[in-house]
Structure formats: C-alpha cells, structure tokens
C-alpha cells in the first residue's frame, strides 16, 4: 500500500518520460545518493571502501558498458576485459604525457581510446551474429591482452610489463596513487559512475536506445523501418567500449593502483558478462545488482565463517565459496531468468498490490 502510483498524474509527456516518474522512487534514489555521498565517507572503513565499494562501482560501470552492447543491442561480447585494458593503458599513457592534467578528466578521456578500438572490433558485427560474433570479440580480447605485453611503449618500458599508478591530483587533491585516501578515491569513483549512469540512462531512453533495442529484438524489422543496422551496431560498440574503457582506467587508477595485462584477461570479461546476465540484460539498475552480487557475495561468504565464530581453512572457504557462488547463480537464474532487476520489479509490483496477492 505504501508503494503506489495512484494519484500521481503526469501532466506532460516530459514528466511521463522522466527517469523516475514515481515519487517514492525519487525519494528512494535521493536517499541512496545521500547515503553514498555523505554517510558512507563518514563511516566506512578502509576495507569496505577499498575492497567492496570501489570495486563494485568500477565493475558496475563496466557492466553498464557491456549491458549497453549485450543487453540493449543484443551483441554478445567477450572482449570487455580487453576494452577495459585499453582504457587503463590509455590513461597511463595520458598521465605520463600530461602529468599535471586533472586526473579525473584523463580517466574519462581515456574512454575515447577504448571507444576507437571497440569500434574497430565491432566492424564484423554486420555479417556475424550471436555466439558467432563472440569470436570477434574474443579475438579482440586475446589480441589486446597480447598487445598489452608486446608493446612496451604502453607501459613505459617497465621491466615487469606493469603499470604502477603514480600520485596524481585533481584540484590539488591527490586522487590516485598511494597518497590518495580511500575516501577520495571512493568519492571520485562514485561521481564518475553516477554521472555516467545518468548519461547511459538518457541514451537508452532516447532515440538511440530505441534503435539499439530494435536491433536486438528483431534486426530485420528494424532495418525495414529505416534503422541503419551497421551504424547502430557500431555506435553501440563505441559507446559500450567507452564505458568499459573508463571502468578499466578506474580499475587501475582508483582501485588496484597497479595493473598488468593479466588484470584484463578473459576471466575479467566473463566476470562482467555474468554481472550483466545475473543483474538483468537490458537494465542499467541490474548492472549494479549484478556487480554487487558477483563481487560482493564471495567477500561476504569469506567473512561468514569468522562471523559465526567457526574457523575454516582459507582454501576450504575458497572451495566452498566457489560451490556456493555457482549454486547461487543457478538458483537466481531459476528464480528469475531475467535477472535481479526483474526480481526487483516484481517485488515492486507485489508491493503495489500489497496486501493482496495479485
């Protein structure tokens, strides 16, 4: 009964098309933002920030990127890791060329490099579809991984083929490197993610988003109503890779503080794909849910035995954790194949008719 849209009339089409047309949703989002921007920085521990919140923000952004491509446009990609890597290495190069530039700006700009590379690997998408397209993106994944090692210029000829994130500032405050506090890094990551999420939701609600979904749902019909498939798919590749690139730069600069080719390997691609699927294909919100579940669950599981005062060997915990995560993935898929986002919607639906069953 509390969650009702009854009585909330929309008087203009603009209001009807707003991001959160329902008042309760707007309040909810405002509360979440308030907590995220104010409460968390005040109270969260370093561990919570560094190992939980920042990673989830980074991974969510990558998941949004992949979701734009796979969930909205229906193009399966297994090259996310590679595109993230492009972003990370681009950011590293940029900051070594312009050490004094605002690092936040550089992080965002490095997405452009990734978008360019992404578009190139999107070229075969006109001819190749479905799982077959996945091979093109896999080629991207492995080829890029190889480049990250074989082109020493990318990591400034470092002997270990790794990038080490130097201390860089924005507005005089250290944002990256060892001297940046977790809170700063968290707030920067949060701001980027919130802004880019907002942009992504704008895109998918507008003309471009509709053309993407049309191509996903039935490309032949889309073509016949005048959507140019090729352009649409390439744009999806470019924007998606842009998001992944920024996420990659954030991964190196705001989260791990160092990165190497292996940080962007195929497993990373799969991980992001799972987040998208578990969270819900074609749902921005789902990307967050997915990241929280896939990243957060193992952490919680690892902490669980200690919490209950049982001592279990680290390796056993790890093994059990694999089993539990695997089982839970299957469980969630069975409960709701359309992902956590749909589950959330159904919950809201139930809330709407509560206390009646339907």
């Amino acid at each position: 009964m509390f969650y009702r849209e009854a009585g909330q009339y929309k008087t203009s089409y603009a209001a009807d098309q707003a991001l959160f047309p329902i008042l309760q949703d707007r309040i909810g989002i405002a509360a979440i933002l308030l907590i995220a921007f104010v409460v968390v920085p005040l109270f969260a521990s370093d561990f919570l920030l560094n190992s939980f919140l920042i990673p989830i923000l980074v991974l969510s952004l990558a998941a949004i990127g992949l979701n734009l491509l796979t969930g909205y446009t229906g193009l399966l990609s297994l090259g996310t890791g590679g595109f993230m890597g492009v972003g990370a290495f681009a950011c590293y190069k940029l900051t070594s060329i312009f050490p004094d530039a605002n690092i936040v700006l550089l992080i965002v700009v490095s997405g452009v490099a990734s978008a360019a590379v992404g578009s190139v690997f999107g070229l075969p998408s006109l001819r190749i579809k479905g799982f077959y397209l996945a091979v093109a993106t896999l080629a991207a994944q492995f080829f890029l991984s190889w480049c990250f090692i074989r082109i020493p210029w990318l990591y400034n000829y470092n002997v270990s083929a790794a990038i080490e994130v130097p201390t860089r500032t924005a507005f005089g405050i250290p944002v990256t490197g060892p001297n940046a506090t977790s809170v700063t890094r968290y707030l920067v990551a949060l701001s980027i993610v919130v802004a880019m999420t907002w942009v992504a939701s704008n895109i998918v609600r507008g003309r471009i988003g509709r053309t993407w979904m049309a191509v996903r749902d039935m490309d032949i019909a889309a073509e016949l109503i005048g959507i140019r498939l090729y352009r649409t798919k390439l744009l999806a590749f470019a924007i998606s890779s842009f998001y992944c690139g920024v996420a990659g730069a954030m991964l190196a600069f705001l989260w791990l503080g160092a990165a190497e080719s292996e940080s962007f390997n195929i497993n990373q691609s799969f991980l992001i794909l799972f987040m998208v699927i578990i969270g819900g294909l074609g749902s921005i919100m789902g990307s967050f849910f997915g990241a929280m579940l896939i990243w957060g669950l193992p952490i919680v599981l690892r902490a669980a035995p200690e919490f209950f005062g049982v001592t279990v060997r680290a390796a056993t915990v790890e093994h059990l954790q694999f089993m539990v995560v695997g089982a839970l993935i299957i469980f969630f898929l069975i409960v709701e194949p359309h992902g956590l986002a749909r589950l959330w919607q159904i919950a809201k639906q139930k809330l709407r008719v509560w206390p009646f069953p339907y």
């Binding site: 190749i128 077959y132 093109a136 080629a139 195929i266 093994h319 694999f322 089993m323």
Partner: protein, 318 residues
C-alpha cells in the same frame, strides 16, 4: 622490402629448406587440432541438443580426468576406475538435468549459458574439495596408453610421432565418426536437433527433454573423459587445463556450432593454422601469437561464411 620478404617469401623458403620441420609442424598442428576438436565435440553435442552453450565442458574434462586419477590413487585398478568414472559422469549428467536444466527449460540461450557458468564454478569448488588443487599425473601406463615415439628419418632430418598422439588421433576420429552417425541417422538424433530448434515445440510433440538431456550430457561427459585423458597425458591433470577449453571456441565457430564433422575439420584447420602461423610467422611478431591467432583465423572464415563452415544456415525470414 625486407619486412615483405620476411612475411611473404622467407617462411616458404624455410618450409622448402627443412621439410622435416614442416611435416613435423603439420603433424603437431593436426594433433593439437584433433585435441581441440575433442573439446569442441563436447560443446557441439550439447549445443545441438539443447541450444545450450555449455561453458562447463572444460571443467567437466578436468573433473572426469581427476576422478579417474583420483580413484586410481585410492587403489582402484585402472580399468575399474575408468568404468567408475563413466558412472560418475552419468550421475553428473542426471544431476545437471534435474537441478539445472529442468527448471530452466525454454529460457533464452544466454540464460542457459550463464547457468553452465554457475555449474563451472560449482564443479571447480567440488573438484577442489574432493581432489585438492594439486596437479596429478595421468595414469598413462596403467591404461596401456603407449609411450615414446616413432622417429621417421626423412628429408634429411626426422619427424617424431609421439605414440600417445597417434592414439589421440585414432580415438578422436573413431569417436567423431561414431557420434556423427548416431546423431544424424537415428530417431534420437532427430529429436536432438528438434530440441535445439525449439524447446517448446519439442515438448508439445512429446519429446522428453529430460531423457534427451541426460543422454547428451552423459555423452558429452564421456567425450570430456577422453579429452581429459589425452590432454592430461600431454601435460598433467590440473585445473589449469580448463583454460584450454576456450580454444574450442574458435574451433566451434569455424566448424559451425551444430556440426559434428565441423568440429573435427574446424579443429584441424585451427590446429594446423595456429602451429604453422606460430612457427613461420610468429617470430616476426615476437612469438606467442598462438593466443589470438586461432580467433583471427576463425574470424576470417566467418566473414565469408557467417554460420561457420558446416553450420546450419541462419534462417532469416519474415
């Protein structure tokens, strides 16, 4: 000019100058290709029958090999262990059907793909709990798999044929041929293809998805066991083997997801292409190009045949 020479001419000169190495390269490519095909075959079976892209094929291979080696280590005679492993794979197939596939019937492909991911995680955990993470040595001798090699003196050098590789090629060919016949010519085979097309329609004509799935997953399990033995004999039996399963992807895509002969032809093309590429052109790029060459080869083929070499035509009709 020099670079052009190195790319366009020099490799072929080398092939001519050292034909023994060239033949050896082809052989290595063939063997690797056949081994890729075996992994791919597991994928194809399941994909054909249920439209499921089974990510867990790799871990099934590890799991099967580990079970075999583990049982043997517990003192079970090798061939009894082999039989028991087959039983384990059957139990696994039944379990998967009950707990994973049945509740997910008629869901989109990507969802089932994801479920097999969950399965992979689960099996990794389970495998490590039961067998531990240490690598094991394949019980090659106990299974009477041959060791050593034939050396063929020819072309002023030698070509070495590992006996185990010869065995792998033979086993793989027999399996592929048998399965191809079984699935093309029998009632079950047709039902399988029907299921891959549409779960819903298959249900409506009375095809028992449960039964079909158990059959294919079990068959895929046997293929996984064979693959595990062969790959295990080449290096060792460890969870790292699972990564190799990815190599089946370009093979699959090249051969077409649904074709059993496609798996073997695709495998050989990829295997030979990759080894020849690495051997003759790899050094120009600093070597180690094998990691992506296979995908690029597959990609080039796909641009000409988007459904793979033997894949079913993609039906586009409105």
């Amino acid at each position: 000019m020099d670079i052009l020479y190195k790319i366009l001419i020099d490799p072929f000169l080398q092939m001519g100058q050292a034909p023994d190495l060239f033949v050896q390269t082809l052989w290595e490519g063939l063997v690797a290709g056949v081994l890729y095909s075996l992994i791919a075959l597991g994928f194809v079976l399941i994909f054909k029958a249920s439209g499921v892209f089974n990510f867990a094929q790799g871990i099934m291979m590890v799991f099967a090999a580990l079970t075999l080696v583990g049982l043997h280590a517990k003192g079970v005679p090798a061939f009894l262990a082999l039989a028991l492993t087959v039983v384990v794979m059957l139990v696994l197939a039944i379990g998967i059907e009950r707990l994973v596939l049945r509740p997910l019937v008629n869901q989109p492909d990507i969802i089932l793909f994801m479920a097999t991911f969950g399965l992979t995680y689960f099996l990794i955990g389970l495998g490590e709990v039961i067998f531990g993470g240490e690598p094991k040595t394949m019980i090659t001798d106990a299974l009477y798999l041959p060791r050593g090699s034939y050396e063929w003196k020819a072309f002023g050098g030698f070509v070495a044929f590992q006996k185990i590789d010869i065995a792998a090629v033979i086993i793989a060919s027999v399996m592929v041929a048998g399965l191809a016949v079984f699935f093309q010519k029998t009632r079950i085979g047709r039902a399988l293809r029907a299921v891959a097309d549409s779960h819903k329609a298959a249900l409506s004509v009375g095809i028992s998805l449960e039964q079909i799935w158990v059959i294919v997953w079990f068959t895929a399990g046997i293929v996984a066991l064979a693959t595990g033995i062969m790959w295990g004999a080449r290096s060792d039996v460890s969870f790292a083997l699972q990564i190799l399963a990815l190599k089946a992807l370009p093979v699959l895509i090249l051969g077409g997801f649904t074709s059993i002969p496609g798996a073997i032809v695709g495998g050989v093309i990829i295997g030979v292409g990759e080894k020849v590429g690495e051997f003759y052109w790899g050094p120009l790029l600093g070597s180690g190009i094998e990691s992506w060459l296979a995908y690029v080869i597959a990609l080039v083929f796909l641009l000409f045949r988007p459904q793979g070499l033997f894949g079913e035509r993609i039906i586009e009709r409105i």
